[in-house]
């Protein structure tokens, strides 16, 4: 077994073959401009998604995860701008498309479910009108009647009770959970290859959240839809995702298969984040290990590692203060292919390997 640690840029897939990606994002950069300066919200983020795969993006507010999603979809609006990188969807770079061309892609090849279904739905149109609009836009051959039938079918599929009747209701007549089901129905109406779900259950109660996640799980499995799930909730990631990307200060600081990430977090931020969550299955003892300080201001990116000032390992280290860590592949444990942007990645991996060797 190889226990060496190699350094290279982001881009190594978690699967051996490279051609099989339905979505490949390379070096995506976005920023928000204001009179007070430019906030570099997404700083060269790369991501790969295979057909049917579920990738989770975890991060706290301001980590750039939502800006990333909007950038991928070409939905970032001024003062936000995509300033670099490629978004290869089904083999072509959609970052180069203009608005009109993007409209033929969005909703058909890739779509999104937002956190707040009330503001994403039009309050003066019925649920049925909003679903059929989406269907007819990409499948005009269906006609009015056909689209309505398809919309009822979709509502049934997302388990809205009495779909045939409730299709003519307005959004306010639906509960929060039901509205989110409608959003999922709209997003999946044209069988996209990729679904981005941005905090899809954050506004919902926990029992409703469980319903919606179970539903989403079934739908994407049946259709073979690849999913990027953006969330701050580590429990949802553990339950739903194959691979996890951890974002901090606009960067992907760690990427790993879900089981590996939770068992062997390489980046100190990932570890701190995992430890800061009270766990429902363990009675807590003593104070929660919190992360001191707050994330950096991305209008004035300091040299070095963005986590340095909060990092239990790197705080005060010259290297961490002055040099941006490169993405380091963690080779030798778990299912392989994990990367972390940390100067201590090699040591951390070696420690885990020692630990595994002694417990084995």
């Amino acid at each position: 077994m190889s226990t060496s640690v190699a350094e290279h840029g982001q881009g190594a897939g978690l699967s051996p073959e490279h051609g099989g990606h339905v979505l490949r994002v390379a070096g995506l950069q976005s920023e928000f401009r204001s009179r007070r300066g430019t906030v570099k919200a997404v700083r060269a983020v790369s991501l790969e998604l295979e057909p049917g795969q579920r990738v989770g993006i975890v991060g706290e507010s301001g980590s750039g995860k939502s800006a990333f999603a909007l950038s991928v979809l070409g939905l970032l609006e001024p003062p936000g701008y995509v300033v670099g990188g490629e978004v290869i969807l089904n083999g072509r770079n959609i970052a180069e498309l203009d608005d009109r061309q993007m409209q033929t892609v969005r909703g058909k090849e890739i779509s999104i479910v937002f956190q707040d279904p009330m503001s994403a739905l039009n309050p003066v149109k019925t649920i049925g009108q909003q679903i059929t609009e989406t269907i007819r836009k990409h499948q005009p051959q269906l006609g009015k009647k056909g689209a309505r039938a398809a919309a009822i079918e979709l509502l049934r599929d997302v388990e809205v009770p009495a779909a045939g009747r409730r299709i003519d209701d307005y959004p306010h007549q639906y509960s929060g959970g039901m509205r989110q089901r409608v959003m999922i129905a709209i997003a999946l109406a044209n069988q996209p290859n990729v679904l981005i779900a941005d905090e899809p259950t954050t506004a919902l109660d926990v029992t409703t959240q469980a319903q919606v996640l179970t539903l989403l799980d079934r739908l994407v499995t049946e259709r073979g839809t690849a999913v990027i799930l953006i969330t701050h909730n580590l429990g949802i990631v553990a339950q739903f995702c194959d691979v996890v990307y951890v974002m901090y200060a606009g960067r992907v600081v760690e990427r790993a298969a879900t089981a590996d990430l939770f068992a062997h977090p390489v980046h100190p931020y990932t570890e701190a984040l995992l430890r800061a969550v009270p766990r429902p299955d363990q009675l807590a003892q003593g104070p929660l290990p919190s992360i001191p300080g707050a994330p950096p201001n991305l209008a004035e990116v300091a040299p070095g590692c963005s986590f340095e000032s909060r990092c239990p390992l790197g705080r005060g280290h010259k290297l961490c203060r002055t040099e941006v860590p490169v993405s380091t592949a963690a080779i030798g444990f778990g299912s392989g292919g994990a990367t972390a942007e940390c100067h201590f990645a090699k040591e951390r991996v070696a420690e885990y390997l020692d630990g595994d060797a002694t417990t084995a």
Binding site: E60, S61, T207, Q239, P280, L283, S290, I291
Partner: protein, 355 residues
């Protein structure tokens, strides 16, 4: 010491000193959809329906439930920010119901609240010093100089520096704003602090900071907390005893250990099962009980209020006919269910160690 009359209303059979707070048979109705002008009566919504519990000094009592369960309404009734429809709130032996406005104002010094939204609850035009000082001004406590000193001391307590006190709320992050809101609540040196989802709007790493601070302050100042929370992991971490509310009523009430390790009510079980555990190995093994329907579903008349969604009682006659009373199934473990404990094996098969 004040009144030592014992009450079974709170269901606490222990031989304990008088609780700081007793809530007895609390009811709060709202009228929805009515209109005086159109002469429409509207529907009565029982937002809080016969809720009783007591909170000991220095304890953290959790009110847990999903949106619409009535937990925030209970909190507002305790402070008499809302007038209860029925029931009694007894604070340190005093029934606050009949108190006149000025007496109530004086008592409220000792009972403070911190709200969820640190963005909406701080006046954006005032600087932090003025915000934290305001309660002293309102209650006419101390002189100018004394007040300023107390503000600085209190801010220090929550980790905000004197220099930062000149700034306005928008210059602070969510976590820091919550510290400021806490300082404003603590400056009156209250006995009871009601925390209404104090960390729900915060990021995980900041949430841990604030929870730790709340713990530390509780120990230092001997505070009693009523903690309103929908996040069960936070509830488990933070609360000594808890009540689970569903549609305005208490479904289960017990200490943390029993509630999370051996829940008796199927709603509690389902809630616990619905929370995703941040551990893929655990997640793979777990059985998830996914409830049918939603909380907002209309309350059918008669029977258990949870029956429509209940995984064990949905088809049972007694659950449809008779509302189960909240009774003690073991000492200090109350549940309102005809079949207490039945769901448990389904939820956490590995955690059901006998003690």
């Amino acid at each position: 010491m004040s009144s030592t009359e014992s009450t079974q209303a709170a269901g606490n059979g222990h031989d304990e000193p008088a609780p700081l707070l007793r809530v007895e048979g609390l009811k709060k109705d709202f009228i929805s959809g009515g209109s005086r002008m159109l002469g429409r009566a509207g529907n009565v919504v029982h937002a809080v329906d016969d809720v009783s519990f007591s909170v000991a000094r220095g304890e953290t009592f959790g009110l847990v439930g999903e949106s619409g369960c009535g937990k925030s309404t209970v909190a507002r009734c305790i402070l008499r920010l809302l007038e209860p429809t029925a029931g009694r709130i007894v604070f340190d032996g005093v029934d606050i119901g009949p108190l006149a406005a000025d007496e109530m104002r004086r008592l409220r010094r000792r009972m403070q609240i911190v709200f969820q939204d640190p963005f909406g609850s701080l006046n954006p035009r005032m600087n932090v010093e003025a915000i934290v000082k305001e309660p002293l001004v309102i209650h006419r406590i101390g002189e100018q100089h004394e007040r300023s000193n107390r503000v600085i001391e209190t801010l220090e307590l929550v980790g905000v520096t004197e220099q930062q006190a000149r700034r306005k709320p928008h210059e602070f992050s969510g976590g820091q704003r919550q510290r400021i809101a806490l300082a404003r609540a603590l400056i009156l040196q209250p006995d009871l602090v009601i925390l209404d989802e104090p960390v729900s709007a915060l990021d995980v790493s900041i949430q841990a900071q604030v929870l730790n601070l709340l713990r530390e302050l509780q120990e230092r100042l001997n505070l009693t907390y009523v903690f309103i929370v929908h996040d069960l992991a936070v509830a488990e971490y933070f609360c000594d005893r808890l009540a689970v509310l569903y549609l305005g009523a208490v479904m289960e009430l017990t200490d943390r250990e029993r509630l999370f390790r051996a829940p008796l009510h199927p709603y509690t079980g389902a809630l616990l099962s619905a929370v995703p555990v941040p551990d893929p190995a655990v997640e793979r093994e777990r059985e998830h009980v996914v409830l049918a329907g939603e909380v907002s579903d209309e309350l059918a008349t008669g029977g258990c209020r949870f029956k429509a969604r209940c995984p064990i009682g949905r088809d049972r006659d007694i659950c449809g006919e008779e509302e189960p009373a909240l009774i003690a199934h073991e000492s200090g473990h109350l549940a309102a269910c005809h079949f207490p404990g039945e769901l448990h094996w389904l939820v956490e098969p590995s955690a059901s160690e006998e003690s």
